[in-house]
């Protein structure tokens, strides 16, 4: 499961590495850091006891902001995952050819669509939490 999730990150890191290689401006640690951060986040996400974490930490305590940040990040990563899955499934259903110029163009539009949808969702989420008094 984790390898399946890792595949797009490895692809992204590989493209990043190749772009740096071909630009001739020297290689950075960014591709490796990308993979390392992904693995760290996945392992941390499994290790954190989410259910009891929220119950233990009270507003006003030093750890509260961090715990809230972790919960919001986890929630938003899940929203982002759902949006990405929906968009890519819709693209796959409409697509006649998996590869070629049309397929790549549609992939670019799909990814741009995910970015747009994510911004809208983030805006709504922020507005909802603000109105619940969590921005205070």
């Amino acid at each position: 499961m984790i390898l399946r999730r890792l595949a797009p990150v490895l692809l992204f890191a590989a493209v990043l590495f190749l772009m740096q290689w071909f630009s001739g401006r020297g290689l950075t640690a960014l591709p490796f850091l990308t993979v390392a951060v992904f693995l760290a986040v996945v392992l941390l996400g499994r290790w954190i006891p989410w259910q009891s974490l929220g119950a233990r930490v009270r507003p006003g305590s030093r750890l509260f902001s961090l715990v809230l940040f972790l919960h919001i990040t986890r929630h938003f990563v899940s929203i982002l995952g759902q949006e990405t899955t929906r968009v890519l499934q819709a693209r796959a259903l409409c697509l006649r050819r998996r590869w070629g110029p049309g397929a790549f163009r549609s992939l670019a539009w799909a990814l741009a669509g995910i970015l747009g949808r994510s911004l809208v969702r983030a805006e709504r989420f922020y507005a909802a939490q603000l109105l619940r008094g969590l921005g205070e």
């Binding site: 929220g54 919960h71 989420f125 619940r132 969590l134 205070e136």
Partner: protein, 229 residues
Amino acid sequence: MKPVLEVAGLCCRLGSRTVLRNIGFSLGEGQAVALVGANGAGKSTLLWAILGLLPSDGEVRIFGRPRSRDGLARLGVVFQNPEDQLFMPSLEQDLTLPLLNRGEAPGPAREKALEALEAVGLAGYAGTPAQRLSLGQRKRAAIASVLVSSPSLLILDEPTAELDPRSVRQLTALLNRLPVARLIASHHLEFLQATTTRALLLSEGAIAADGPSGSVLGDEGLLAGAGLI
């Protein structure tokens, strides 16, 4: 009847496009008002402008005073997507969070959360995360998450979107039981007929009709003119 929400001369522009034109209405204590209009008529934009989430011209008074943080704290806003409101690992934590954040003690906050869950028919789900519920249950949980703060005015944006008929019936019964003022934005005419007494018909960013729900929502010519049927 004391006004809980007064809107006068509200205009809103998004880029070069005018999306709300000279909107004016007031909503009294305990009143249930429908904000009805076709897709793109400006219902959600109007709600966002009222809440100060979008820049607008004109006057918005909440509980007789210009819009302020204190006034907004007495409103309960239910967004179209419950996932925008609920994000903690259990419903109980989702409901108690704003109360604890305002300085309430954990015991009374928990009691209020359980009462709110009971009021929406989700008494046995306090320990369940919102993601494990059906959409109808999530919508009711989102309503509970605002009821817990005892709001004096409830604002609901498209509450029946994507709900099956049974969930719509449950939501109708729930809203009719609530004693607070309500402003419900939707294009679900049957639902609005059943849950509101007055309707504001929004068409191309302006109020085209304001009257009893029965007459506004039953006027086919008016609804056709607004692009609703």
